[in-house]
């Protein structure tokens, strides 16, 4: 019995020693135990002030990145809210057997050409294309994308970028402030993720439609145009789908094709051009 007690005592003491060792290791959790790698921003020391300084530096860097991304997301949200669809269909035969009358005035004579017009008759999603227009209503005018794009690199505002010398703060106050900033950044990251998913869904549904204007803007040749009772008609240019194999189209219009709608059905691969 005594022998059994001795064995039990040794086992318990051993367990206690192990538990004590584990307890002290668990409370010492700072980075040197994490074996920070080459890329780790954390110092190889347990000293709390040094680690707090490193945290502050990382938070500052991440804040700048997040702020830049938020500027991009805000611009996207601005123009996304101003985009409307216009149903457009191609009237006339792409093989030019019927359609609008067109005359190049090169001696060949009048022929048929298809052209694009606003589709007022088809039921929703039955139009050929839903061209995307930028609305002029409400606040949208000020958010219009610039012709040719902004080509401006995103930049952080001077206020946000300014990083003055931190005021003397107690460690706990500094930590509380940093924790608050990290919480805010996590919220921002969630918002950015949601915006990028929304954009991805929208973009994956949008097609690039090759469009060229045929005819002379000065009225020397092109589509025949005029009132029903006039003779002879004049000439005007008009837009048509560009199916030419040997020339680039004038423009690639953004459109939802064949009833595609973001969040519902999208027939094409993301951002696919229509041939």
């Amino acid at each position: 019995m005594k022998r059994a007690h001795r064995v039990l005592a040794v086992a318990l003491v051993g367990a206690a020693v192990l538990a004590c060792a584990a307890g002290s290791a668990g409370s010492n959790r700072l980075p040197d135990a994490r074996a920070a790698g080459e890329d780790s921003p954390w110092p190889r020391t347990n000293a709390v002030p040094a680690n707090v300084r490193a945290i502050r530096s990382v938070v500052r860097d991440l804040s700048r990145k997040v702020e830049l991304m938020e500027l991009s997301a805000a611009r996207y949200a601005d123009w996304e809210a101003c985009i409307r669809g216009v149903p457009v269909s191609e009237y006339g035969d792409p093989d030019r057997q019927w359609g609008y009358l067109y005359d190049e005035r090169n001696g060949i004579g009048t022929s048929y050409m298809p052209a694009l017009a606003v589709d007022r008759k088809s039921r929703p999603r039955k139009e050929d294309y839903l061209f995307l227009k930028f609305s002029r209503k409400g606040n949208c005018r000020s958010h219009a994308p610039l012709p040719g794009g902004t080509a401006d690199p995103a930049s952080v505002s001077a206020t946000a970028a300014a990083s003055g010398r931190p005021r003397a703060q107690t460690l706990r106050r500094t930590l509380r402030h940093l924790e608050h900033r990290v919480r805010n950044m996590k919220r921002s990251a969630r918002r950015l993720l949601a915006a990028s998913e929304r954009f991805d869904e929208w973009e994956s549904c949008v097609s690039w439609v090759p469009v060229t204007e045929y005819g002379d803007p000065d009225g020397e040749f092109g589509y025949l145009f005029g009132p029903r009772d006039a003779s002879p008609p004049g000439y005007r240019p008009a837009l048509a789908i560009d199916r030419s194999d040997w020339d680039d189209p004038d423009y690639m219009f953004l459109a939802l094709v064949g009833g595609d709608r973001p969040g519902r059905t999208c027939q094409d691969e993301p951002g696919e051009a229509i041939d």
Partner: protein, 132 residues
């Protein structure tokens, strides 16, 4: 022997109890520092992962532009482009409206005519950074 056994039992028991008590205490400064570092490591990864998708907003913003288009002709067929056999009918049609001072009916969104999404349309975008 009994004394040793009793001490060992008390020691073991006391080591079992503290974790529960510690969990209820407010975290120490050291713990908060450690937690923040772990959160920042994971946040840094999240933000790195977001860079590319968010850059697509900029690409679109830089490349996309509105182009003025107006529909010419009347829907009632009294005036417009000649259409059909012998041009007997009149139909409206769309044409660019980028000259003059009038406002076009529509500002359709377009991309430059290179392979979309263009990598050339935003070539000026990083100029400022490159120059510095």
């Amino acid at each position: 022997m009994r004394r040793v056994l009793t001490i060992a039992l008390i020691c073991t028991a006391s080591l079992m109890v503290p974790p529960v008590a510690v969990a209820e205490d407010p975290p120490s400064v050291r713990d908060r520092v450690e937690d923040l570092q772990q959160e920042l490591d994971s946040l840094n990864e999240e933000i790195e992962d977001l860079q590319e998708p968010v850059a697509e907003f900029d690409l679109f913003d830089e490349c996309m532009y509105p182009i003025g288009v107006t529909e010419y002709g009347k829907a009632d067929g009294s005036f417009g482009y000649l259409f059909g056999q012998g041009g007997a009918a009149r139909r409206p049609g769309l044409a660019l409206d980028i000259r003059g001072f009038g406002m076009p009916q529509y500002e359709f969104l377009a991309f430059p005519a290179e392979e979309p999404p263009s990598i050339e349309c935003n070539e000026d975008a990083g100029q400022e950074f490159i120059d510095h």
